[in-house]
């Protein structure tokens, strides 16, 4: 008998408490982000137009990948680090250059703290953004931070081919290949000259 009335009493008490909590939530700030008007990748519009308690995107968000080719040494470390093979790189020989950033300071290798030297250049740098799983292993492995995640996350395209980001244009590729051929021709000519001189020396030594 006691349990019967206890049931009724507990039922009303817990319903009373529950209803007071639901009612209280009506007076709390709303968390909805009105999406296209409030752009969540820049904290600025959030502060101006959004009244809730959620944060915007921090600076180290892992969004779509971007490559700065002026910092790339074509070492292919990112290609090896990617677990799903979404980066494809081809490279050819080029002149030995020291890398410099915009203001002219030399770029250092992050792990060895020595100056980064570029002996090869890329002729193809394709990232398949559809396959990419935004894990960040390529960005962690790159010695010069050439490849890094931006905080961009909106990338609608009309076909899946358009999602393959190509960072080396056709003229750059042609120029690099031509340069590589020149270097090879030069090296071959040098080698031939050195071989001829050797032969002349040998003949001279024989006589």
């Amino acid at each position: 008998m006691g349990a019967y009335f206890q049931n009724i009493k507990n039922g009303f008490k817990s319903a009373f408490e529950g209803m007071s909590i639901s009612f209280a939530t009506m007076f709390v700030r709303k968390e909805t982000v009105q999406y296209p008007e409030v752009n969540i990748s820049t904290n600025k519009t959030i502060a101006e137009k959004y009244k809730g308690t959620l944060m915007g995107m921090p600076a180290n968000s892992r969004g779509i990948l971007d490559v700065n080719l002026s910092l790339c040494t074509a070492c292919q470390i990112c290609q090896k680090a990617c677990p799903i093979d979404c980066i494809v790189i081809d490279n050819v020989k080029c002149d030995k250059t020291k890398l410099e950033d915009e203001v002219g300071n030399p770029v250092l290798n992050r792990f060895t703290q020595k100056e980064a030297l570029k002996t090869r250049t890329v002729t193809r740098f394709d990232i398949n953004a559809a396959k990419c799983m935004y894990c960040g292993l390529c960005a962690m492995a790159c010695p010069t931070t050439a490849i890094r995640h931006t905080n961009r996350f909106e990338m609608n395209t009309e076909s899946q081919e358009a999602l393959i980001l190509k960072f080396v244009s056709e003229e750059e590729k042609a120029r690099a290949e031509k340069k590589a051929n020149d270097i090879e021709a030069e090296a071959a000519a040098k080698k031939a000259k050195a071989a001829k001189e050797e032969k002349v020396k040998e003949k001279g030594a024989e006589e």
Binding site: N7, I8, A15, F16, E17, G18, M19, S20, I21, S22, F23, A24, T25, M26, F27, V28, R29, K30, E31, T32, T53, L54, M55
Partner: protein, 389 residues
């Protein structure tokens, strides 16, 4: 309406028919609009209770959302599942619609504003809402889907067994006012809160609570929404319905909410009664009525988004073991109370005022609890103060 038509020169019989048709169309339009607007109201309120906005894009603040939903539903493909009973499948939604729409005949919109003040108004009201059982059961059976069948069976059991507490809860106001007509019951109440039927004695409070819980179950609202338990049966008896047929079910459910709110207000909360000086303004009476109905609808929506749902055997337990004995005790108690105090109207007034003060006391405690909860939710998180660099 009939008088207006006769005065412009029509014969009595065509005038009667035309006036009936016009009133029918007007009430049907009102019914559809109310059903639609209530969906928007529910979605906004549920959003606010979850610290988010509800629909707010279509039209100013989203009020036209239901129009967009209705248009979408009408444009959808009308599927009848293979192996379903075509005739029953087609008719079932309309039984639900008639069950709810038929109550509009005795709906008291204000003092004297009623389509037909039948002298068995309340009895008619309760009986016509029982048609919903047919609709639900036919929908569940004819869908050729085992989940719908289970939903339909549950719904039939639930609605039938909760008819009894609803009826018993309504017996107490009938006892007090001595009449079954809606207009008569409204006239037996006054406009002051302690003249309302609900506060007249502790037994009326108990019968109000029993009636309210029973009407929640009749309308298939949480905590009694087993027939359409979303997380178990995907949509219960209306899983297989698409397009306009689904819109009819949808609409009748939300209008049922309004109808139940209207009944509660008219019978227990003195719907539409005005103080003596303002008696002539019917518009004011309608507004007072609608305001009270809105409060009841808000409480029903509030309950839906707070409480979890019952299981079928617990629901049956509640009806037969808790509500029914409570209703009997309330009825007997009220009868004995009326017998003992029939020559002492002063005692009746004092008891009514005391019940009203008890209600106010509970309300004040509630508001204190709400303020504590608001303060707890406002403890800062992700504030600029924590942006250390």
């Amino acid at each position: 309406m009939e008088a207006i038509l006769i005065s412009i020169g029509l014969e009595p019989i065509p005038a009667k028919i035309i006036s009936m048709v016009i009133i029918c169309v007007v009430v049907l339009l009102a019914f559809v609009t109310i059903g639609g607007v209530l969906t928007w109201v529910e979605r906004r309120i549920s959003g606010f209770m979850q610290a988010r906005l509800g629909p707010n894009r279509v039209g100013p603040q989203g009020v036209l959302q239901w129009v967009a939903d209705g248009v979408k539903l009408i444009l959808k493909e009308d599927l009848i599942p293979d192996g379903a009973d075509r005739k029953l499948f087609a008719i079932a939604p309309y039984f639900c619609l008639i069950g709810v729409f038929g109550t509009m005949v005795v709906f008291p919109w204000g003092k004297g504003v009623i389509v037909a003040d039948l002298n068995v108004g309340l009895f008619y009201f309760i009986s016509i809402t029982a048609l919903v059982v047919f609709g639900v059961l036919m929908a569940g059976w004819s869908s050729n889907n085992k989940w719908s069948l289970i939903g339909g069976m549950r719904a039939a059991a639930q609605i039938v067994s909760y008819e009894i507490p609803v009826g018993m809860g309504l017996l107490v106001p009938i006892l007090i006012s001595g009449t079954l007509s809606m207009g008569g019951i409204m006239a037996a109440q006054g406009w002051l809160p302690w003249d309302w039927m609900v506060f007249k004695s502790p037994f009326t409070v108990v019968s109000f609570i029993i009636f309210f819980i029973g009407s929640l179950a009749e309308a298939n609202r949480t905590p009694f929404d087993l027939p359409e338990a979303e997380s178990e049966l995907v949509s219960g008896y209306c899983t297989e319905y698409t397009g306009f047929r689904y819109a009819v079910f949808f609409l009748s459910e939300w209008a049922n909410l309004f109808v139940m709110g209207g009944l509660t207000t008219a019978v227990f909360l003195g719907g539409g009664n005005l103080p003596g000086v303002l008696e002539d303004y019917t518009i004011l009476s309608i507004l007072v009525f609608l305001a009270k109905v809105s409060v009841i609808i808000f409480v029903v929506i509030w309950l839906r988004w707070t409480l979890p749902r019952f299981r079928i055997d617990q629901l049956m337990d509640m009806s037969w073991k808790y509500l029914l004995p409570g209703a009997f005790i309330a009825f007997l108690g009220q009868a004995i109370y009326m017998l003992l105090t029939q020559h002492l109207p002063i005692v009746q007034s004092v008891v009514a005022v005391i019940m009203f003060l008890v209600f106010v006391f509970v309300l004040i405690r509630f508001i204190i609890r709400v303020r504590v909860n608001i303060r707890e939710q406002r403890i800062p998180v992700n504030s600029p103060a924590s942006d250390v660099l």
